[in-house]
Amino acid sequence: MFATAIRQLRMVSSIALGKRINPRNIEHLIGDAVKTIEEFGTLGDDIQQQIEGPFGDPATRKDLQNGALQRTARHLARSSPYYRRLFAAHNINPEKLTVDVMSQIPVTTKKELMEHQRDFITTDSRPFLSARTTGTTGLPAEVWVSKYEIELWPALNVLSMLLRDEIDLDGCLQINISSRATVAARMMSAMCGLVGAGVRALGIIPPCESVDSLLCDGSKVPTMLSTHPSYLAQLVQEARYRKLKPCDFHLRHVYCGGEVLSNVLLHAAKETLGAEFVHDNYGMTEILPVTARACNQGHLHHDVNSGFFEVRDLETGEPAESGALGSLIITPYYPYRECMPVFRYDTHDVVRCLSGETFACNMAAIPATSRILGKVDHLLHTNEQIITPREFIETYESLPSQPWPARFQARSTGDFIELVLSEQALDGMTEDDVEQHFQAAGIPVHVIGHVARQQERYLRSLRADLLETTFTHTGPNQHQLARSDSKELIL
């Protein structure tokens, strides 16, 4: 108990003084938290204060943010060739940087990150592991991380999850994300290792094999699942096809990210897979370890302790007004990010600004925006309104035919949206029915065609399409045979 207090003091002093955080110290704190849970069943009192962190207090938040931004900018001006140039060109003095003048600093885009990749790597760090984005939403970017970062991030993340009771200590995590997502996969394995949970790293394999794994018996039966919404949809479909019941699974937590998770799919995952909690988390390789979590009322609460977030108006480029759509801009703080840090990184993820609003959710003290509404490039503009990918996907996936994951192509013609949908979406419906369904949701849609099941993957790239081949089944299994066009399989 005394030693735990000393460890907490060490961590807080590192953060306050802007010094590197010792990952070993955090790992010991995790050990303390695990022992506390083993002894008492839960963590102790004032846990909410721990969860919110020092930045959770609105009265002191701005001062802390100013200090953290100045510290980060100082580090970048000293060690990052790209930002040294940028700050010099725009006459930015890190010592005078405040929250109020952040909007005057140019944003960093993925294009710049790709074009000047070497200049983003700081001179005082040693790149250890490269993470390539999957490219499902554009060209892939390569991000380098140091050994310090790859040790620190999982430790910080798992500590936060322990505080929120979002991880099973004696459970097992099944990882169904692309094996090429090296940083994410490594982080998740490390996180489980830190709390003594098991890991089944499967990757994006045929859904029937993943469902088989979820159903297995034994001491390390998966109680947690990490995947993308599109793959989760395939797992739900597979489970429903096999007439499996929630009691057949042992899942407690499903962690989703990387794509838009519709409410209808979230509830379907709970009903079908028996998961107690489906977490819709936000994070991307470029801005790690800054993440965001969806609350019980559908806001997206941002981690204000490890980074600074802004919502930039899509049209003016200025800070977005409350209620307006904007692109999410993230600045991870030093010392959380050291190898290839970014400053005011434009994620191109659209959110609705909720600044100035008071929340009544389970994370009310933490600043929030709406959940991710999609990528800026995927917004559909009609003469009357802007339709976000989330609105479109929510409506599409709530079709009675349950066409999960949503496969479509949509294009604005000005007055309405031209829609090409998958054959699956028309199951038991006419094109008119689909149009009326969208009309009821306030989206003017004109269905111009549909594609066969075998072609539907060309409609829209999903992370579930990053399929990895396995030799588990020498041929198509009975479920695949039953559901697929036999002619194509023979070919």
Partner: protein, 309 residues
């Protein structure tokens, strides 16, 4: 009956009263605990280091400063113990009033007030019992296990023997503490006879009894009550009486831990041979009836009782 034997029975009663109060407090009050952290062997080491250094500091500093330190420490302790039972301001007020009254009575009794010393000792004993109940519960409810207490008591036995008989620090400390308004011991006087048991001893008795009850249920509690009565009180105070009679000296110091420590360690070994020591979670599950609400500010503990299958 000889006054000395009456005192012996009173001291026995006082020791058992202290540990019984600790047990009742443990059963009925959930104390606030930090979000992360359980008591472990590192804490025993830190606690022991603290105990090692503290007497030297006590002896070195002037009595007035020592009084201030003790007053602040006891106000904090009593406040912590009373806080789950009443509103914060009332808990603080009670602690301050108790300590202030004790100081006033002590100073007044020096002017020749006959009843003064009696009231001083009554107040002092109350403060000490409250202190022992609070610290022992803080540690046991913070997940200190009987294993830790047993080792702690054993180390304390060696420590006490060394500083009582090899390097006479304990007698020097007792003389030094006589000049302060708070005596960290419970004491009773009949005529010219006076017997006392130190706060440290009462703390270890309470700690052992509560930890034994938490870890080994009623069997642990009965064993530790017997241990406190025989090895913690009767045997050391009996030796005091024998030594007083044999040597004719008025001030005889016999550290209770010398008897209690080894006996406590053996009792722990005996208890743990039969069953595994329970965690706080297991204790909650075994002792919390559905719908019952323990006293205290620790709402988290109450939630866990409800949610744990």
């Amino acid at each position: 009956m000889n006054g000395q034997y009456v005192l012996l029975i009173i001291m026995l009663f006082a020791s058992l009263l202290t540990v019984t109060c600790s047990l009742i407090y443990f059963q009925t009050v959930h104390m606030e605990r930090p979000p992360i952290g359980v008591f472990n062997k590192e804490d025993i080491a830190i606690l022991f280091m603290f105990l090692l250094v503290l007497p030297f500091i006590y002896v070195a500093i002037p009595p007035l400063l020592l009084t201030v330190i003790l007053v602040v420490a006891f106000i904090g302790l009593i406040y912590t113990g009373l806080r789950p039972l009443m509103r914060a301001r009332y808990a603080l007020l009670t602690a301050i009033v108790l300590l202030a009254a004790n100081i006033v009575v002590t100073q007044t009794s020096k002017t020749g007030w006959a009843m003064g010393m009696q009231i001083h000792w009554a107040l002092n004993d109350l403060i000490i019992i409250l202190g022992a109940v609070t610290i022992s519960n803080l540690y046991v409810q913070g997940a200190m296990r009987l294993r830790h207490v047993a080792w702690f008591a054993l180390l304390l036995a060696l420590y006490d023997a060394f500083f009582a008989w090899v390097v006479p620090l304990t007698p020097a400390l007792l003389i030094h503490l006589e000049n302060t308004a708070i005596d960290p011991a419970i004491a009773f006087t009949i005529g010219t006879f006076r017997m006392s048991i130190g706060l440290g001893d009462l703390f270890v008795f309470s700690l052992f009894t509560v930890a034994a009850y938490k870890g080994f249920s009623v069997r642990g509690m009965i064993a530790s009550l017997g241990l406190v009565a025989i090895f913690g009180t009767l045997l050391p105070l009996g030796v005091v009486l024998v030594l007083t009679a044999m040597t004719g000296r008025a001030n005889v110091t016999v550290p209770a831990q010398v008897f209690f420590g080894p006996a406590a360690f053996i009792t722990y070994l005996w208890l743990s041979r039969h069953t595994q020591e329970r965690s706080m979670r297991q204790w909650y599950n075994a002792h919390t009836k559905p719908g019952s609400t323990p006293l205290g500010v620790s709402t988290h503990a109450r939630q866990e009782v409800k949610t744990t299958p």
